[in-house]
C-alpha cells in the first residue's frame, strides 16, 4: 500500500509541471462559419505554431452558420466568433450586444463572376440588366455585396433576374443556367477556371470577375466579442487580438507553411509526397528570407515567386487550393492588420438600408467596432 502511494507521489511529481503548464492555458472556442478550408489557415497556424498558446489560450475551432455564431457570442455561450461585418450591424439592430474587434478580411471577398468576354459580352456591371444572376440566398455577405455592386452602377435587384442557387455557383455557372453568379472571389472563380481548363465547363472560356471591393469599401469578416468583455475581460480580448494578428501575419508571410499546417485540418487538400516536399523546401527558404527583414512589398513579391516555382513543378489543378490561399492573402494583407475603417462600416450601413433590412432601427456604428486592441498589440 505504502509502496503504491510512494509510486503515485513520484509519478505526480513528474507529471505536475506539465499539468500546471496545461492549466495555465485557458480553453477557448473560436466559432467560425463555412467548413474547414484553406482560408482558415491563419487559425490552424495559430494553434500549431503556438501563437494562441503564447497568449494563454488552448484554442479549438468550431464551424457553424453565421447567425448561430453571432447568437452564441451574444448569449455568452462562446467568447469569440468570426462573422461578416454586416451581421454585426444587423444583430446590433436586434438587441445583440456584440462588438467587432479585429478586421480579418481587409477587402470584401464577394464579387460577381461572369462568362468571359467571348461568352457573355458583359464587360460592365450595367450590362447585367435583365440577365439571370445566381446567388446563394437573399442574405449574408453575398446579398449585401451584390446590392452594393448594383448600386454602384445605378441599379437595383429588380433590374436583374436574381435566382437563389445555394452554394453551388461552379455547378450552376458551368451549366450556363445563369449569366453571372455572386461568389467569393478568392475561391469560386478558380474552381470555375479549373473546370473550364479540364473541359468540364461548357465552352465558357476564362471567367471575368467584378470584385465588390473595387467599387465600394465594405466591412468584411472579423473577430467579435460580447461588449461586456471589453471592460470585464479586457486582457483576454487583447490577448486574442494579438494572437490572431500574429497568426495572420505568419500566414501572409509564409503561405507554404500555412498550407502545410492546414493539411491536418482540411479534408482533401492535395498532399502528394513531392508536393509536400516542395512546399517544405519553399517554407524553409521563406523563413530564411524573412530573417532578412524584407518589406511588405518584397514579401508580396516572394509569394508570387513561390507560386512561379510551384507552377513549374505541378499542374494548375493540384495548385488550386494554394491559389485560393494566395488570393485570400491578397484580401487579408494590409499595412496595419486588423484595423477597421469607419468608412467601410458606413458603406455597409448604407447598403443594408437600401435592402430595408434595418426597418428603421438606429445603429450606432462607433459602438459596433473598436480599433483599441489593434493599437494595443502594435505597441
Amino acid at each position: 500500500m505504502t509502496r503504491i502511494l510512494a509510486l503515485a507521489l513520484i509519478l505526480l511529481a513528474f507529471v505536475s509541471p506539465a499539468v500546471r503548464a496545461q492549466e495555465a492555458l485557458q480553453d477557448e472556442r473560436i466559432l467560425l462559419t463555412f467548413v474547414p478550408n484553406i482560408q482558415f489557415s491563419p487559425f490552424y497556424l495559430g494553434i500549431q505554431d503556438g501563437h494562441f498558446a503564447e497568449h494563454g489560450f488552448n484554442v479549438t475551432l468550431e464551424h457553424l452558420q453565421e447567425p448561430e455564431v453571432l447568437d452564441l457570442v451574444a448569449a455568452g455561450h462562446a467568447d469569440f466568433g468570426i462573422v461578416s461585418g454586416e451581421q454585426v450591424i444587423l444583430a446590433r439592430a436586434q438587441a445583440r450586444d456584440v462588438v467587432y474587434v479585429f478586421e480579418w478580411f481587409q477587402k470584401y471577398p464577394v464579387g460577381l463572376v461572369v462568362q468571359g468576354h467571348n461568352g457573355s459580352g458583359i464587360s460592365e456591371i450595367s450590362e447585367l440588366r435583365d440577365r439571370k444572376v445566381g446567388i446563394p440566398g437573399r442574405f449574408g455577405a453575398s446579398y449585401s455585396g451584390l446590392t452594393a455592386l448594383l448600386h454602384s452602377a445605378g441599379m437595383t435587384e429588380s433590374d436583374i433576374e436574381l435566382t437563389e442557387i445555394g452554394f453551388h455557383a461552379p455547378d450552376v455557372f458551368c451549366s450556363k443556367v445563369v449569366s453571372a453568379a455572386v461568389v467569393y472571389i478568392n475561391n469560386e472563380p478558380l474552381q470555375i477556371l479549373n473546370r473550364s481548363l479540364a473541359g468540364e465547363c461548357s465552352d465558357l472560356g476564362m471567367p471575368d470577375v467584378f470584385p465588390v471591393a473595387e467599387q465600394v469599401d465594405l466591412v468584411s469578416n472579423g473577430l467579435i466579442v460580447h461588449s461586456d468583455m471589453l471592460e470585464r475581460e479586457t486582457e483576454k480580448v487583447q490577448n486574442m487580438v494579438s494572437a490572431l494578428g500574429q497568426a495572420l501575419k505568419s500566414a501572409i508571410e509564409n503561405p507554404a507553411r500555412a498550407y502545410l499546417v492546414s493539411l491536418e485540418y482540411v479534408e482533401a487538400l492535395p498532399n502528394e509526397v513531392e508536393y509536400v516536399e516542395a512546399l517544405q523546401q519553399l517554407s524553409m527558404e521563406q523563413e530564411a528570407f524573412l530573417d532578412t527583414q524584407p518589406s511588405r512589398e518584397d514579401i508580396a513579391q516572394s509569394r508570387l515567386d513561390m507560386r512561379g516555382q510551384l507552377g513549374q513543378m505541378f499542374d494548375f489543378d493540384m495548385l488550386e487550393q494554394f491559389d485560393v490561399l494566395l488570393n485570400s492573402i491578397d484580401l487579408w494583407d494590409a499595412e496595419v492588420l486588423g484595423f477597421s475603417e469607419l468608412g467601410s462600416w458606413e458603406s455597409m450601413l448604407a447598403t443594408l438600408e437600401l435592402l430595408e433590412f434595418l426597418d428603421g432601427s438606429e445603429v450606432d456604428l462607433t459602438a459596433s467596432f473598436t480599433n483599441v486592441f489593434i493599437m494595443g498589440s502594435s505597441e
Partner: protein, 242 residues
C-alpha cells in the same frame, strides 16, 4: 397549451433568458400582426402550402398505386423493396441538396422532397391494408362474378381504407417537414425560407411566427385527415359503440 403560454410569459417577464433568445409572447404577437398585415406571412405560407399540396398529391398517388401493385404482385416487392428501403432510410436532408441541384431552387424541388417524405407511409400502409383484405370476402366477390374494378371499388378499397387513412395522417404531418427541409436548403420563398431570412436578420420574433405557422399547418392537416376518417369510417364508430 395555456400552461405553456403562461410558463413562456413568466420566463420572459422575469428576464430568465435574454429577449433576443426568447422574445415575450406579446412581441411575437406584434411580429405576427406585422407579418400578416404586410402580406409577408401570407406570401410565404402560400408557397409552402402549394409545395405541400402538389407534394402530397404526387407522393400519395404514387404511394397508393405502387403499394397496390406490390400488394398484388409479391415478385414486384422482391425487386423493389431493397431500393425503397434504402431510399427511405436515408434522411431526406441528405439528398435535399441534390434535388435542388437537379430540379432548381423553385417549387419543383420542394414538391419532390415533400412527395418523397409522404410516399413511404402511404406505400407501407397501402400494402398492409390491401394484404389484410379477408380472403372469405374475396371468395364472396369472386362468387358474385365481380369484375376486378368492382372488387377494388367495393371490397379492397373500403377494407383497406382505415389503414390507408392512418398512413395519410402520418403523411400529412410529414408533408410540412418535406417542404420546409427543401426550403431550408435553398429557396426564395416559403416558411422555411422565412425562418432563414428572419435568422439572418436576427429577427427572433419572426422566427417564432414562422415556426408557429408551420405547426399550425401541420395540426390543421392532421385535423383535416381526422375529419375525413370521421366521415368515411362512420361505420367503425357505430360498430365500436355497440
Amino acid at each position: 397549451m395555456l400552461l405553456l403560454l403562461l410558463v413562456w410569459q413568466l420566463i420572459t417577464a422575469f428576464g430568465l433568458v435574454s429577449a433576443f433568445l426568447l422574445p415575450p409572447p406579446a412581441q411575437v404577437l406584434d411580429a405576427f400582426v406585422e407579418a400578416v398585415s404586410s402580406g409577408l406571412l401570407a406570401r410565404h405560407t402560400l408557397t409552402t402550402l402549394e409545395e405541400m399540396f402538389f407534394g402530397l398529391l404526387l407522393g400519395v398517388s404514387i404511394g397508393l398505386s405502387l403499394g397496390y401493385l406490390i400488394a398484388k404482385a409479391p415478385l414486384l416487392e422482391f425487386i423493389l423493396s431493397p431500393i425503397i428501403v434504402a431510399f427511405q432510410s436515408t434522411p431526406i436532408v441528405a439528398y435535399a441538396p441534390l434535388l435542388i441541384i437537379w430540379l432548381g431552387s423553385g417549387v419543383e424541388s420542394k414538391i419532390v422532397t415533400t412527395a418523397v417524405i409522404v410516399f413511404f407511409p402511404m406505400l407501407v400502409n397501402t400494402i398492409a391494408g390491401i394484404r389484410a383484405v379477408p380472403p372469405q370476402l374475396q371468395d364472396l366477390m369472386h362468387s358474385l362474378n365481380a369484375r376486378p374494378w368492382q372488387s377494388f371499388r367495393h371490397l379492397e378499397l373500403p377494407s383497406a381504407l382505415p389503414v390507408i387513412l392512418a398512413g395519410l395522417r402520418t403523411s400529412a404531418t410529414l408533408a410540412v417537414i418535406g417542404a420546409v427541409v427543401g426550403e431550408f436548403v435553398s429557396s426564395g420563398s416559403g416558411l422555411g425560407h422565412l425562418v432563414t431570412l428572419a435568422r439572418n436578420l436576427y429577427d427572433t420574433p419572426l422566427v417564432f411566427v414562422s415556426v408557429f405557422t408551420m405547426t399550425f399547418i401541420a395540426l390543421s392537416l392532421y385535423g383535416a385527415v381526422a375529419l375525413l376518417e370521421w366521415r368515411l369510417l362512420a361505420w367503425r364508430r357505430r360498430s365500436s359503440a355497440s
